[in-house]
Amino acid sequence: MIPYESILLECVRSDERVMVLTAENRGHMRSAPALMGDRFIDVGIAEQTMIGVAAGLATRGRIVVTHALASFITLRAFEFIRDDVGIPALPVIMVGMVPGVLSDANGPTHQAIDDVGLMRGIPNISVFCPADEEDLRIGLREVIFSGKPYYIRYTNAPASVDHSKVFAPGVAEVVVGPTIGRRDVTILTYGTLLRQAVLAASKLTAQGIVVQVINMRTLKPIDEQRILEASFNSDLVVTLEDHLLTGGLYSIVSEILVRNRRSVDVLPIGFDTWFRPALLPEVLDHERLSGEHVARRIAEQLQRNDERRSMEISYV
């Protein structure tokens, strides 16, 4: 039994309100369902029905954790999530499997690269994007028992960093570099690409560039203070995400900077359109999202910024 399903099983056993539903997606729950009795329901390949059933259960006091591929739960069932979970703010957790680049060779139908934008756009719904299995474990109970609707961008990738054991919605964690103070670059990221951000940071550090990497953890609520601090104390802010540039972290950062009248250099790294389907390492390489590519893109941007600043000085 993998840690994710162990935690779900523990939640089911410790609290009679908790129920687990799936739309015939059991890749990450192979053993636990048989031990959950009538608290587990597989509704079949029927994402809309799953969310409707979850809402019905939740009105009667249940906390319902639902599962489907990230693209199917957020797109096929979008209106059910908006109407039946979002409007009444019921405690239903939508867990989206293989989001972003994790859909690797499935092709564009399976590429949830708009899921964060869709889910955060629904009033009342929060968004948790763990970086890896350890990050998921640390936040999962808090999210399930928050009493709120949540979208979880699922991953069970092995951890690439030591995470803060304290999870709080809207509180990001610094995983590389100085906690506060001047640095050349701050990389803001979430989910699978945290590993690549850490790799990129080590390459940049070797070149004498001071880099901070922040794991956002929740994208709604968002750690606004951390983003503003980065805008004051770094020459370049990078948003790194396996998501469309519309609606995700780059959009969130832009909204925060405009609202706070901040103007800073931001390098957005994400997708403009669907990515080329292939196994994950090739996707990361082809889409220039591997640590090596990310380091190069940041170094190039720093170079461009230096050139621009020297031109500005020469005009003066």
Binding site: G44, V53, A55, G56, L57, R60, R62, F80, D83, D84
Partner: protein, 285 residues
């Protein structure tokens, strides 16, 4: 249930229809659709469902969900007559300071779940029915569907899942008024043979005259059938029932009458001469 109780229901339904007509002005409402399910809702709330103003939050109450939410004036008319809400509150219809708009809102006592977008509440009702079964209660969940609403794939998806989960405390009631918005169902997306469709999905199927309280009682008193299958009651109804000027008319789904017309239609409801309607009708095609 006594015969005398059933004999009182037509007068009760008449009062509900008056409420609907009074809500059909100053912005209007879905009058035609509301009048078709009035008798159904009157029968269910007065006779079948175990729910009253004192038990609105009781864990073992029965539940009714209005999935075709646009006929909510009928529901609010019933609520006003049963004392769930004061009758005077209906005067707040469409006013911004209250929650009485064109679709149900959970802030109104008696509304178990909001609706508006079609095809949602059969699955929500299924979730409630599952919870009721898990708790060992014998409450029933009744979901009122429009016949036009059966175009939605999510209804048939929920039908499949409901029979798979062997939930027999779930009762769908189809308000079969043969219209969807401004079109006759059989001329757009034919539903017949409807009975056979539900039977093929593994549901118990009953048909009933949705305006005959005796017939409704003879069908519903045997429900739910405890055979491990959900039940659907297909209720033959008429759009605009009770008001001859607008009965069975494609263009009288949503109505926004003048005050004078409302007065004349209420006269008509009580069997007096037919009203002359001059207000604009809403015709989509």
């Amino acid at each position: 249930m006594t015969e005398s109780h059933l004999s009182e229901l037509p007068a009760f339904a008449l009062r509900v229809r008056e409420h609907i007509l009074r809500m059909s002005t100053n912005g209007g409402c879905f009058t035609g659709a509301s009048l078709s399910c009035t008798d159904l809702l009157v029968y269910l709330y007065t006779t079948y469902l175990r729910i009253s103003p004192d038990t609105l939050d009781a864990p073992d109450r029965d539940v009714l969900l209005l999935s075709k939410g646009h006929d909510v004036p009928a529901l609010y008319g019933v609520f006003a007559e049963l004392g769930f809400i004061p009758r005077e509150r209906l005067k707040n219809h469409l006013r911004v300071h209250d929650d009485l708009y064109w679709h149900p809102n959970r802030n109104i006592p008696g509304v178990e779940f909001h609706s508006g977008s079609l095809g949602h509440l059969l699955s929500v009702g299924l979730g409630m029915a599952v919870d009721i079964r898990m708790r060992g209660l014998d409450s029933r969940v009744v979901v009122v569907l429009g016949d036009g609403e059966l175009n939605e794939g999510s209804i048939w998806e929920a039908c499949l899942t409901a029979q798979a989960l062997r939930v027999d405390n779930l009762i769908a009631v189809v308000d079969r008024n043969l219209f969807q918005a401004n079109v006759r169902t059989e001329e757009l997306i034919p539903l017949e043979p409807l009975t056979t469709k539900f039977e093929a999905f593994g549901w118990n199927v009953e048909t009933v005259n949705g305006h005959d309280f005796g017939d409704l009682h003879s069908v519903f008193r045997a429900l739910p059938v405890r055979n491990g299958a959900p039940t659907v009651v297909i209720a033959d109804t008429q759009r605009g029932r009770g008001v001859p000027s607008i009965v069975d008319r494609a263009d009288r789904w949503f109505c926004n009458f003048t005050h004078e017309e409302v007065g004349a239609l209420i006269e008509e409801l009580h069997g007096n001469s037919k009203a002359t309607l001059t207000s604009e009708t809403l015709v989509v095609r």
